[in-house]
Symmetry: C2
DNA sequence: AGCATATAATAGCAACTGCTACTATATTCA
DNA sequence: TGAATATAGTAGCAGTTGCTATTATATGCT
């Protein structure tokens, strides 16, 4: 009732993260690192800036996530031949191996989290949250409107 | 489509937090601190452990959040006369003053975030996310089942 | 060519989060 | 009463996140 949707989302996301991390404790990879890797798999060679924009985090946040993944031997930074300021990001073979083991667990966790929801309700949940995300996302990018 | 509900929730919650914090930058209070204060307002005198359980964070997480709020002069720790290990938490008058100014902003932000959603859809969103949260919450507390 | 501006990435700082381990106090039970 | 156990809270460590400022390089304009 007096529960704000923002806090509700935050709580739920945190519980999700916690459950995910508890299941991957031994593999040494966290929920968010796994997510970054799944993005990277579909955009190999991407530079940090565009990747940060893609997942909507600040460049510095991505930079440090990449730091850890490089240190863990899962991601490789290669100098961009066209721009000496930039890095291109690539997965290592080790990351690919990890991905396969994770997918199953992630799907199982998603199933547990949405237990009791019908297929239609799951779709609706995703649809509604996506619309909220789009609203919030749009709001942030409105800084660069005035020059148009 | 291949967007996991967990990551979607996480993203949306993060964007929400970011938007909230951008609006309260000058007041020096963050989204999560505000949330803790709203809980505290309804449970003055509560001890840290029960409060942590209430908002489902680890005791140490709450402990450090309280540290910051005490330092900011918004919360007061008083020794529990019945248990010398425990603290009772109280809001300072300054916190009450802050609360009033925030509520309006929070409601406006919620309205922006749910723009384009009908009243029925908003209710459904909250209902669905609450059910997911309950699933995740239950799953964590299952450690202490076997002794029953 | 040379200067002004923009961009890619990072450094410092701080808040949020949780795991494990620990201290201090309380409770239970022999 | 005294030892074993449980509980309240905290310390250390590490990952995630973003703000502001900075460095290095690229681009645009004169």
């Amino acid at each position: 009732m007096n529960e704000t949707i923002g806090f509700l989302l935050n709580d739920t996301a945190r519980l999700f993260r916690r459950a995910f991390n508890a299941r991957t404790k031994d593999s040494g990879i966290t929920a968010l690192q796994w997510r970054l890797i799944t993005y990277l798999k579909r955009h190999e060679g991407i530079r940090q800036g565009p990747l940060a924009e893609l997942i909507e985090v600040e460049p510095i946040t991505l930079s440090r996530m990449v730091d850890r993944l490089v240190e863990a031997g899962l991601v490789e930074r290669r100098a961009d031949p066209a721009d000496r300021r930039a890095w291109q990001l690539y997965l290592t073979p080790r990351a690919g191996a990890l991905l396969n083991g994770m997918r199953e667990m992630a799907e199982a966790l998603t199933a547990e989290a949405t237990e009791g929801l019908s297929a239609a309700e799951r779709e609706q949940l995703i649809d509604l949250v996506e619309r909220v995300r789009a609203n919030l996302s749009r709001r942030i990018c409105q800084k660069e409107k005035e020059t148009a």
